[in-house]
């Protein structure tokens, strides 16, 4: 779904046809869930709840959404804020996102051909993991990522560069 069709869908929803919102849900449900589990390290059950909550919030706040901007970063921002609130609620500081490199027990099982990639990502720093997640999985640009996680674009580019370098080093034999 490109941005033009997204805008038309959002206009439909704002016009009273809430059923059209399911198109957006179908488009981004998996992405939100994957981001919450792999980048934000939310457990699977909570991630499902937060995904539901994120779409409900998006639906409620849709009237205030700027149609000239892409929908996906906005939705990811809602997911991220929900995840941070949840982590705070669980007495886990947001800072831990960038210091705790432990593997989430609820991480999605990867296909055999991608196990090495998954292992390489897990060895990155949490910040690099989140940037990689947002860049490759959510397909966001460095500028969008910087805006989302509140980092300068240069820092995001630099982090992405080091992430690539690290992964190349880890995957030297298989790449």
């Amino acid at each position: 779904m490109n941005q033009k069709s997204e805008v038309s869908v959002i206009k439909e929803v704002l016009g009273g046809n809430a059923d059209c919102f399911s198109q957006l849900v179908n488009q981004y449900y998996r992405l939100c869930l994957h981001y919450l589990i792999n980048a934000m390290r939310i457990d699977r059950e909570t991630a499902y709840d937060l995904t539901q909550e994120a779409f409900m919030r998006a639906l409620k706040s849709l009237a205030g959404f700027n149609l000239e901007r892409p929908f996906k970063p906005w939705l990811m921002m809602i997911c991220r804020n929900l995840a941070i609130d949840k982590l705070k609620e669980q007495n886990r500081q947001t800072l831990n996102l960038f210091t705790d490199s432990g593997k989430s027990s609820d991480a999605i099982e990867s296909l055999p051909e991608h196990v090495d990639l998954k292992n390489a990502i897990d060895k990155l720093s949490p910040r690099q993991q989140e940037i990689v997640e947002l860049h490759y999985f959510a397909d966001l640009t460095c500028a969008e990522i910087g805006e989302l996680i509140n980092l300068p674009v240069g820092t995001v580019k630099s982090e992405l560069h080091f992430a690539r370098r690290n992964m190349l080093r880890i995957l030297e034999k298989s790449i």
């Binding site: 009273g16 809430a18 998996r30 779409f55 991608h114 190349l168 790449i175």
Partner: protein, 314 residues
């Protein structure tokens, strides 16, 4: 890694920071043509990029999803103007408005009723003074009432030697050289002269030894002689005169007067054409003759006719 690179891998680092590794300028492409090390690194990064995107798409596809529950409240996120208008005129809102109206109307009615009957428990007097009225038993000796405004106690017998004004709700009653008892919504006038200006709709009656004069909203005067003879004169509006001991009643309108005497004497007669005012001889022992109007030459109109506004202005 970049030992063989002329610019120490600067171009490669620049490219690896980009969103899209495929987009490189001519100068950068020229460098990668000549620098095998950087070209090899770029190729690896591109392969990694391709694999990562493949991994991402397949990983997302394999994500188990759960049905999104659309909240009922969000079935329609925005209502049109007509829908909002229809919502406002819903039965619930109408019932709420009707309830509020009924409560307000009831409160207003009770307030009016209390105001109308407050003489039975409280009297609001000019100057915002409030006098608590107590129902004392009749005394043998009447209390003298001073000139000017007075705050009568309900049930108390009074004598007004001069002209006294009594405020009764929004109405004004003037008594002069009279002996009376102020009761709830009525005055028991034993003798003397009473002029009442009663607001229409306000219940008021004057009871004399021989008659009961019920007010229908008017200005009228009553004069009671020592023998009980009662003269009624209506200036405005109408009053109902009921003779005591006789069920007959008559309604006097503006300009009419009636004279009620003891049975041994001449009874009242209506004079609709000629306005006849009763004589204001204080405590005159003789009966008031109003039939011919001959006695009216002695009648003296009060020096300043009663005016509600004038009285309240005090």
């Amino acid at each position: 890694m970049n030992q063989a690179c002329d610019n120490n891998g600067k171009v490669l680092n620049e490219v690896l920071q980009r969103d899209d590794l495929e987009s490189i300028s001519r100068e950068e492409a020229a460098h990668f043509e000549v620098c095998a090390t950087c070209r090899a690194e770029l190729d690896k990064a591109r392969r990694l990029d391709t694999r990562m995107r493949d991994f991402a798409s397949k990983s997302l596809e394999s994500m188990p999803v759960r049905a999104f529950v659309m909240p009922k409240s969000a079935a329609k996120s925005e209502y049109s103007f007509t829908e909002k208008l229809a919502g406002w005129f819903s039965f619930r809102n109408f019932a709420m408005a009707a309830t509020i109206f009924i409560v307000c109307a009831g409160a207003w009615f009770l307030l009016l009723k209390k105001t109308d009957s407050r003489l039975s428990d409280k009297s609001t007097m000019p100057g915002n003074k409030t006098t608590v009225v107590s129902f004392e038993p009749d005394r043998d000796e009447p209390v003298r009432m001073a000139s000017g405004f007075n705050y009568p106690v309900v049930g108390q017998k009074y004598v007004s030697p001069d002209r006294s004004l009594i405020k009764y709700g929004t109405s004004v009653i003037e008594v002069e050289d009279a002996e009376f008892t102020f009761l709830d919504k009525k005055v028991d006038l034993l003798r003397g002269r009473l002029v009442a200006e009663i607001t229409p709709g306000q219940a008021f009656a004057v009871i004399t030894p021989l008659a009961r004069i019920e007010v229908l909203g008017t200005r009228f005067s009553v004069v009671v002689a020592a023998n009980g003879s009662t003269g009624v004169s209506v200036k405005r509006g109408s009053v109902k005169v009921i003779e005591t001991g006789n069920s007959s009643e008559r309604i006097l309108t503006a300009g009419m007067s009636a004279d009620i005497r003891p049975r041994s004497e001449k009874t009242a007669a209506d004079q609709p054409e000629k306005k006849i005012e009763p004589t204001v001889r204080p405590m005159a022992s003789e009966s008031i003759e109003t039939d011919s109007g001959a006695d009216n030459e002695d009648y003296q109109e009060p020096s300043d006719p009663l005016s509600l506004n004038d009285l309240i202005g005090d």
